[in-house]
Amino acid sequence: MTQSVVIQVGQCGNQIGCCFWDLALREHAAVNQKAIYDEAISSFFRNVDTRVVGDGGSISKGKICSLKARAVLIDMEEGVVNEILQGPLRDVFDSKQLITDISGSGNNWAVGHKVFGSLYQEQILEKLRKSAEHCDCLQCFFIIHSMGGGTGSGLGTFLLKVLEDEFPEVYRFVTSVYPSGEDDVITSPYNSILAMKELNEHADCVLPIDNQSLFDIISKIDLMVNSGKLGTAIKPMSLVTSSAGAFKKQQEKPFDAMNNIVANLLLNLTSSARFEGSLNMDLNEISMNLVPFPQLHYLVSSLTPLYTLADVNIPSRRLDQMFSDAFSKDHQLIRADPKHSLYLACALMVRGNVQISDLRRNIERLKPSLRFVSWNQEGWKTSLCSVPPVGHSHSLLALANNTCVKPTFIELRERFTRLYKKRAHLHHYLQIEGMEESCFTEALSSLSALIQEYNQLDATKSMPAEDLPRLSIAV
């Protein structure tokens, strides 16, 4: 069994990360009733004997003593990380695995990337090596950050190059929160585009998220909960937004509900690697199946169901509804409509009491309404994990490599261009050592090249899929 390390960078990254660890503990507590430190839990947690001072405390088997998250927390302001370390999850984090500063990055990618990057490079390397040493077989780094700010965006992407050089065999999965239309950070287009170039070049897989979509999902749930139609019939723990049963008793922060969705995304993504099932899917299979060309590694995700009704006898119609919802534009975690764009590949990761026949029936049913690229007409990757998420009897995570991600990039480019044309706020960046105008133009062309790739694929959408002439053999 392999291990993964989560690197949470910046305010957004750390807040999401905190929710993730909370829900991860809840999930493992629900599955692992006897509190034995097993391989599943070891993928994200170390087992430490806290009486032992220093490094010797790791316990590899037997009862759980004290769980420590395989995490590195990075923020150039202290506020968020301090709050985490004083909150109910304080014992879960190793206080040595933090890197903080006081002044923050001022929503400036260049400060995060160039200034703090060089300042903290050694420390970062040291913490990463430490966390890798604690792993028997490290498979993946999960980086969580936002694109629009300074630390998550700049320092978060600086990290990627470091990881690539230092741990070339380990996968880099990045969960990136893209700025919404009504983003209040003026420079977010600059930050995002500069960060995109790094994601293009150094990430294995990116899961783009945007706040607006998360917010819309929450509104939808609130509507259902409060409409009186379902009312108290929803199982509280099953809400994809809820922290019920977790350490944090109240949802104090306004973003908690939204962050929980992303946390659930990460849990579901790794469930088939951690838990048993009849058709396992490891993290290396995600990259293998969903990334047909190295640059096209942006995956649109959707999670269903968003909640479970309290009635136990769920007819299979509900099961099929779960599959249908996964393809609706209302369930995507980014503004995207996969059904009306072109699929390059699609993964369906199912958890719980679902069998291969349910999976096949739904693929057959939904296939006609989806458009797949000509060379991957049967581009489905599927997995069945026996362990459902907390509060559900089954769930589905769909990952789509789909051209529907293009509008997000185009919009980002437009906002960037509007600012850049007027050279607004540019001096804040150019005055940083190592930053030149070429950084901006290169980042812009990197994004344009990516958009162009998607355009070329979209152009093939309406063409009929023809079989190419085969090799002819002399008999």
């Binding site: 069994m1 392999t2 391989e39 028997d136 077989c137 498979q139 048993e276 009849s278 058709l279 396992n280 490891d282 290396n284 299979e285 990259s287 293998m288 199946n289 969903l290 990334v291 047909p292 060309f293 190295p294 390059l344 590949a345 069998q355 291969i356 026949s357 349910d358 096949r360 693929i363 057959e364 296939k367 000509s374 060379w375 991957n376 007409q377 049967e378 581009g379 489905w380 990757k381 599927t382 069945l384 079989d467 190419l468 085969r470 090799l471 002819s472 053999i473 008999v475």
Partner: protein, 455 residues
């Protein structure tokens, strides 16, 4: 003589468990419908073939379990141990921590050489437990990374190390619509490599077995467990003991050798399909009776019309009249095509088996012209009923059964290859475009050869 089974990857291990379970259950089944002495001889033969014995009497499967990540093997070992009836050897498994990521190149080029010695040693230990080795089963899927890539590597290895022993690969053909996106690449690489190093490829198609579960077994929510059990039943119906010859009541000692001799006369033609009849849920079984004539009639029609199960058989398909040329080369697009065979093996188990009339299978019109029917057709029998079926018949066929599925896989892989999609994942680990082209060439050759059987 004994058969050593190598179970590779998730699929190989999950199926391997069901196979040993089916073999054991059948051999200890109380409804053998034969004399006690007969039953004991059957049991002894099955045991010698598939199980070795430990001090406290619990039979140990003659198997080596290999996977590149631990979850499935752990489950498999504990399932067997929990049954209390048989188990796997304590030290018979080899496991790593990180799987092959559905990457054939990784399974073949990285895991293969890296773990060659350990795996070879394990197999050696298992072989040493056999008084005499008949050969190997290698159970693997084509779609993933370990079963397919590492499976191809291990088979090659076995060819070098045990050149005198026979190897039969039990290959699981994935569902046509995606279990794995790169399954077609993995499949063509697997098949082309196995063609060079294996003695026979016995193919089991997930789609076909799935239909059997749905239509014949009436299972509502079909799980992989159901699929694997049907598959195990098919395999058991072929490889459980049978009499060594016409008129003999001793059990055959060299099933693999006999099978290869009968079914694989030419190295260009190694693809075998299996069908068995009847196949139904246990509830229905109690209410059914069969005649050999009826069963064989259906089985023969399944053969010539290429039906995958006994429902929906196309009775319109007829063998060409002898002496007249067949309707030209097999066209892959034509619907009602007659399935030409190179060789067939029918296995009959149950009551009054000696009364079964098999002349219809010896019709030269069924076969390609370059073998005499007396050489092309063989039959194995036993009076001992299999797995509670009063009468059952299985067919292992070297025929055009697999041409269409193979052609489809090659076609899809070719389309994907033309766009170069996913190729970087393979070249990363040393499998170059040229290796792909070699595989395509070899398989197009195999397809063409099988298509031309009608001449």
């Amino acid at each position: 003589m004994s058969i050593v089974t190598v179970q590779l990857g998730q699929c190989g291990n999950q199926i391997g468990f069901e196979v040993f379970d089916a073999l054991f259950s059948d051999s200890h089944c109380s409804q053998g419908l034969c004399s006690k002495r007969e039953n004991e001889a059957y049991q002894a033969s099955c045991k010698e073939r598939f199980f070795s014995e430990e001090e406290n009497g619990v039979p140990i499967a003659r198997a080596v379990l290999v996977d590149m990540e631990p979850k499935v093997i752990n489950q498999t070992l504990s399932k067997a141990a929990h049954s209390g009836r048989w188990k796997y050897g304590q030290h018979s498994c080899f496991c790593q921590k990180q799987g092959s990521g559905n990457n054939w190149a990784y399974g073949y080029s990285v895991h293969g050489p890296r773990h060659e010695e350990s795996i070879t040693n394990l197999i050696q230990k298992e072989v040493e437990k056999c008084d005499s080795l008949n050969g190997f089963f290698i159970i693997m899927s084509m779609a993933g990374g370990t079963g397919s890539g590492l499976g191809a590597f291990v088979t090659q290895n076995l060819q070098d190390q045990y050149s005198n022993s026979l190897k039969m690969n039990q290959i699981i053909w994935p569902y046509g619509t995606g279990e794995v996106i790169v399954q077609n690449y993995n499949s063509i690489l697997t098949l082309s490599h196995l063609y060079r190093s294996s003695d026979a490829l016995l193919v089991h198609e997930n789609d076909a077995v799935h239909k059997i579960c749905a239509k014949l077994m009436n299972i509502k929510q079909i799980s992989f467990r159901d699929i694997n059990q049907v598959l195990a039943h098919q395999l058991g119906s072929v490889f459980q003991p049978t009499y060594s010859g016409e008129g003999s009541f001793h059990y055959r000692r060299n099933p693999l050798g006999d099978l290869m001799e009968n079914l694989v006369p030419h190295p260009e033609f190694k693809m075998l399909g299996v069908r068995n009849i009847p196949q139904m849920s246990e509830n229905s079984l109690a209410y059914s009776t069969f005649t050999w004539a009826g069963l064989l009639k259906h089985l023969r029609q399944m053969l010539i019309s290429n039906a995958k199960m006994e429902e929906g058989i196309d009775w319109q398909v007829r063998p060409p009249l002898s002496g007249l040329p067949t309707l030209g080369k097999m066209s892959l697009n034509k619907e009602f095509h007659f399935n030409t065979s190179i060789a067939n093996l029918v296995i009959l188990r149950g009551k009054e088996v000696h009364s079964a009339e098999l002349g219809a299978f010896k019709d030269p019109a069924l076969y390609t012209s370059w073998l005499e029917p007396v050489h092309a057709f063989s039959v194995w029998k036993t009076q001992r009923a299999f797995s509670k079926y009063e009468k059952s018949a299985a067919l292992v066929s070297n025929s055009q059964f697999l041409v269409k599925p193979l052609d489809m896989i090659v076609g899809k892989a070719w389309n994907m290859f033309a766009s170069k999609a996913y190729i970087h994942q393979y070249t990363k680990f040393g499998i170059e475009e040229e290796d792909f082209l070699d595989s395509f060439t070899l398989l197009e050759q195999v397809i063409a050869s099988y298509c031309n059987l009608g001449f």
